[in-house]
Structures are given as structure tokens and as C-alpha cells.
């Protein structure tokens, strides 16, 4: 856990003094990602750099696990905090393995333990150790370099990660992918992460909490949903954008809204006439056909009327299936594209695990707007 208490940072003295941070207080819970968000020059990077004492604070306190960082040995403090920066900062003269090994080496690990850890991290970040271990940073693409940057920060398994716009230099397609991978990784690692970004999309996607800054002041500190649905003032509303309701859709994931046990399920081997009877009796507009655990498609009553045989042969297949982590924004887009009001959620093996309907999405959005934000 990291606590910032009344942190103030002033550069220079007298008339030329510039206040970079003004009385900032916030707490980063253990295992959560807090995004420091704001336009350039708002103080977000300064706050991050104060955390590992690359900058000193003028007034206030920063506590890590209850201990004042000013009372810690600065070198020791930095070694127990992973640090990822925007320009990656890989050492060009060291191989990928040597780059990742920096902190473990500084901490005096033996060679065997370091080698094992390097391979483990490369594998974790989906870089084949056999190929990448002995390469140099110049031989890697931007996305690969950034993965190595993350691996290096994780090398000595620090509790805390500081990430300064880590994915900003990567092209949009790779950025989405590396963000997704990083979130998946974080689900297992549960690091305490302070993440600087100027991009509201990234903040909404990555953050458990978002701290929005303006001119050195903390304007709003809330979960992404609240920031989007209940902006505290005009500055926040403008920053998050007029399409903020749509942005809410990108934080709602299929797993948050799916119905794991929908009633309108039929088996592939059921006969058309039996299914039709059930549908008429229960008033279903359509039924989902599942065969051997996998969704085959859907049937509507008008298609069954004059048919015999099994529903598996009559089912209209779904053009697309969605996954647990598919955001509602994409789901809604599919629904509009294919004129469907429900889609099946499948796991990595394609097994059926639930459905999401248009109504589920609408209900969830309505809920997030009615959360009582009465904490002001």
C-alpha cells in the first residue's frame, strides 16, 4: 500500500518558484492499479517520480506499507520498486537477459537463480527465451522492447510497480494487445501499480482507480465507472469527453453481465417439434442450441413450424462468439452489426459458459449511473 499525504512539490525558489504538486493526498490499495491521469504538466509524472525518490518532495509524506520513504535507504527503496518508463530505457549494450538481470544482479543473486528467473519472465511475457535471451534491444520491435521493459521491472519480484506511460510509444494495434496481456498478467501477479497516462481510454481500461490531475492538484480520485458517470466538475467532464457514456461500455466486460444459466437452452438432438412446443409454452422468441458443451446456434419458432428432424440441423449459427473479457462496447457493436439481441460467451476452448443480451448491457449501464456518488 502506498499513501501520499499532503504531497507538495515546488521547483525553484522565490519569484521563479513553480508548484508542480499541491497538497496531493491519495492511497493506492495493495494489488490495485491506480492510473495518474491528466494533461502534460499536470504533475502526474512528478508524483510518480517522487515515489522512488527520483524527485524529492517539498512538503508532505509518502508512506509505503506504513513507512516513510524519507527514512528508507534510497538505493534499497528503488530496488524494491519496479520501474517502467516511457522510452523503455533498455540498456543498448546489454543483451535482453542482461537487461532483465540488472536488479537481481545488484541484489547479489547467484548466476543460476538469475538465469532461471530471466527465462521465467521471458516466458511469462510471451517472448521465447531461446530466441530472445541473447539478442540486443536494437534487434527487437517496439512492442517486444516494452515487454522486456516490463520483465526487467518484475525481475526481483517487487511488491510495487511504477509505470510512466509505458505503452505510449507503441503503435495502437500492439498497444491494445500488450495492455490486454498486461492486465491478464496482473490478475495473477496482483502487484500494487501506479501507472501514469494522458490517455483516458488507457486509464479507463487499465485502472482500478483513476486519479485525475490538473495543474498539480488532484481533481477527482474514483474508480473509472464513477469518473465517467459522475464527473465532479466541468474539468473532469471535459477531460473524459462527451462520449463518456460509451466509454463506460468499455469497462463493462462480458463476465460482469453474462447470464451463466440462461433458461432458453435446447440440445442439438432434440426434435424440432418438441422444441417448438416448449418455446410456445414458455413464450421464448428463440432458443440456443448447445451440442457437446459448445454453442451451435439459435432457432426461432417460425423456422421450426414445418420441420421434422433435430434442431442441430436447423440452427442458425452465430456469426461470432464473445469471451469473458470482451468489453460491452464490442458486444454492442456485434449486436448492431449482425442484428442480434444476444450472443454466447465461450471459454478459451469454445465451450459455452453463458449469454449476454442487449437488455443485460442496458441494465448494467443504468446501474452505473444510479450508483450513489454521495461521497463529495
Amino acid at each position: 500500500m502506498i499513501s501520499y499525504e499532503h504531497v507538495t512539490k515546488i521547483y525553484g525558489e522565490g519569484k521563479s518558484a513553480v508548484t508542480a504538486l499541491s497538497d496531493v493526498s491519495l492511497t493506492v490499495e495493495r494489488g490495485k492499479i491506480v492510473v495518474l491521469l491528466g494533461p502534460s504538466g499536470c504533475g502526474k509524472t512528478t508524483l510518480l517520480r517522487c515515489t522512488n525518490r527520483l524527485e524529492s518532495i517539498t512538503r508532505g509524506k509518502i508512506l509505503i506499507a506504513g513507512k516513510d520513504i524519507m527514512n528508507m535507504d534510497v538505493i534499497g527503496l528503488r530496488r524494491q520498486i519496479g520501474y517502467v518508463i516511457q522510452n523503455i530505457g533498455l540498456f543498448p549494450h546489454k543483451t535482453i537477459a542482461e537487461n532483465i538481470a540488472v536488479v537481481p544482479k545488484l541484489m547479489g543473486w547467484d548466476a543460476e537463480r538469475i538465469a532461471k528467473r530471466v527465462d521465467e519472465l521471458l516466458t511469462m511475457l510471451r517472448l521465447d527465451p531461446e530466441i530472445f535471451r541473447s539478442r540486443y534491444p536494437a534487434e527487437l520491435s517496439g512492442g517486444q522492447q516494452q515487454r522486456v521493459g516490463v520483465a526487467r521491472a518484475l525481475a526481483a519480484d517487487p511488491e510495487i510497480l511504477l509505470m510512466d506511460e509505458p505503452f505510449a510509444a507503441i503503435d495502437p494495434i500492439n498497444r491494445e494487445q500488450i495492455q490486454d496481456e498486461f492486465l491478464k498478467l496482473q490478475e495473477q501477479l496482483k502487484k500494487t501499480i501506479v501507472f501514469v497516462s494522458h490517455d483516458i481510454h488507457e486509464a479507463v481500461k487499465m485502472g482500478d482507480m483513476i486519479a485525475l490531475f490538473n495543474q498539480g492538484r488532484l481533481v477527482q480520485y474514483d474508480p473509472p465507472e464513477l469518473l465517467l458517470t459522475h464527473p465532479k466538475n466541468k474539468y473532469v467532464a471535459d477531460f473524459v469527453g462527451a462520449d463518456r457514456a460509451l466509454k463506460v461500455l468499455s469497462i463493462i466486460l462480458a463476465k460482469d453481465i453474462m447470464d451463466p444459466e440462461p433458461s432458453n437452452i435446447v440440445k442439438g438432438q432434440d426434435s424440432a417439434q418438441d422444441v417448438l412446443k416448449v418455446m410456445e409454452k414458455k413464450g421464448w422468441e428463440y432458443a440456443i442450441v448447445i451440442d457437446q458443451g459448445k454453442p451451435v446456434g439459435y432457432v426461432e419458432s417460425q423456422n421450426l413450424k414445418y420441420e421434422r428432424g433435430h434442431v442441430i440441423e436447423l440452427a442458425e449459427s452465430y456469426p461470432v462468439h464473445i469471451f469473458k473479457r470482451t468489453p460491452a462496447r464490442d458486444i454492442l457493436s456485434y449486436m448492431l452489426m449482425f442484428d442480434l439481441s444476444s450472443l454466447c460467451v465461450v471459454d478459451d476452448n469454445g465451450e459455452f459458459i453463458g449469454t449476454v443480451t442487449y437488455d443485460d448491457i442496458q441494465e448494467k449501464v443504468r446501474q452505473s449511473y444510479t450508483i450513489d456518488a454521495g461521497r463529495d
Binding site: 518508463i85 540486443y136 534491444p137 536494437a138
Partner: protein, 222 residues
């Protein structure tokens, strides 16, 4: 043919003078490096000192070599070394300072801030940062400075014959005095060959000391 004959006749003297030249330039380069590289690194941490030190080295460089030898004489005469190898080596050390200092300073300063930041942020001490990151990255440019200094000092070393420092300059100086073309050519050709050889050698050292990752970076950037 006269030149070869001259060399054949004076073979051991030629060897000796060549050795003297190597010694003079080599020793001054070693001392010059021992002073220039640490000083160059030191001034990267002290901005106002940097300006003065580099300006000072610039001024020394501006003084013509023959005048610098002249200036050294009365100063070093007070400790009994007005003539000979000592003033020559002192002068060569002073001359070598500008290329060595300036290249070291610029090379260390040019290490990208993001790389330095990453090292610091990961908990490297100042010394570790210097040893593990800054010096290896700066090495090629530092060696390039040594290369310039070495080649320059071979040339200036030839003039040191006028203050009795020995070396291949002796043939040039005496050959002119005695109007002995074979002698002049022998001295001139050997000094030139020596300079070309050392330049090539230092280029090889530069290549060897350039870390592989940085070579790749340069090649891929082209």
C-alpha cells in the same frame, strides 16, 4: 635508393629513434588518458566547472607547439628539466587533453536521459551507473578522442626534437640543418607511417570496445 641505403647503414639508430618516438607518444598518451578521462567524467557532474576546464584545454590547443615547448623550458628549468624528454612529454600530455577531455565529456553527456533514469530508478548507485551503463555506452566516443590525441601527438612529438627530446624528429631536424635529403625523407616517412599505423590500430580498438548491442543499433539505424 639512397633512402634505403641510409636506413640500412643506420639501422640500429633508426630503430632507437623510432623506439624513442613510440615511448614519448605512448607515455604521454597513458598519462593524458589517466588525467583526461576521469576529469572529463568529473566535469559532467559539475556544469560550471565543465566550461572552464574545456576552455582551458582549448587555450592550450591554440598555442603553437614550438611556442609551447619554448614556454615549458624556463618553467621546467627551475626543476632542472628545461630540455629533453620531460618538457616534451609534459607538452604532449597538455595537448592531448582537449580531444580526450572533450570526447569523454560529450560521450557521457550524450547517454540518453531515459537510460540514465532507468538505471537510477532501478537502484544503481552513482558508481554502478557509471561503470555498468555510462562508460560502456560512451566508450566508442572516448576511444575516438584517444585516437585523435595519439595521431596528433605523433606529429607534435616530431617537433620535440628541437628541445632535445629525441625521436624521429631528429632526422628531420638534422637533415634540414645538414641538407641531407635521405635523412629528412627517412624521418618524414617513418613518422607518417607510424601515424597511419597507430590510427589504424586505434580504429580497431574503437571497434573492439564498441559493445555489440551498440554496433547493431548503429547498423540497423542506417
Amino acid at each position: 635508393m639512397g633512402v634505403l641505403h641510409f636506413v640500412e647503414k643506420n639501422f640500429y639508430q633508426v630503430l632507437f629513434l623510432t623506439w624513442e618516438h613510440i615511448f614519448m607518444v605512448g607515455l604521454s598518451l597513458i598519462i593524458g588518458t589517466a588525467i583526461g578521462v576521469p576529469l572529463g567524467i568529473l566535469i559532467t557532474k559539475k556544469a560550471n566547472l565543465a566550461k572552464n576546464v574545456i576552455n582551458g584545454a582549448n587555450v592550450i590547443m591554440t598555442i603553437p607547439s614550438i611556442a609551447l615547448f619554448g614556454l615549458m623550458m624556463p618553467i621546467l628549468a627551475t626543476v632542472g628539466h628545461g630540455l629533453g624528454k620531460v618538457p616534451a612529454i609534459v607538452a604532449l600530455v597538455l595537448y592531448s587533453q582537449l580531444p580526450i577531455l572533450r570526447n569523454t565529456y560529450v560521450a557521457i553527456k550524450d547517454v540518453p536521459p531515459s537510460i540514465r533514469d532507468a538505471g537510477k530508478g532501478m537502484g544503481m548507485s552513482r558508481w554502478q551507473l557509471l561503470k555498468e551503463v555510462e562508460i560502456p555506452i560512451a566508450a566508442p566516443v572516448i576511444v575516438a578522442g584517444l585516437r585523435t590525441a595519439a595521431v596528433m601527438n605523433i606529429g607534435i612529438g616530431a617537433i620535440a626534437a628541437y628541445i632535445g627530446a629525441g625521436g624521429l624528429g631528429v632526422y628531420i631536424q638534422q637533415g634540414i640543418d645538414r641538407v641531407y635529403p635521405e635523412m629528412i625523407i627517412t624521418g618524414a616517412v617513418l613518422v607518417s607511417l607510424f601515424a597511419i599505423l597507430v590510427d589504424g590500430l586505434m580504429a580497431a580498438v574503437e571497434h573492439v570496445l564498441t559493445p555489440k548491442g551498440i554496433q547493431l543499433e548503429k547498423r540497423l539505424a542506417q
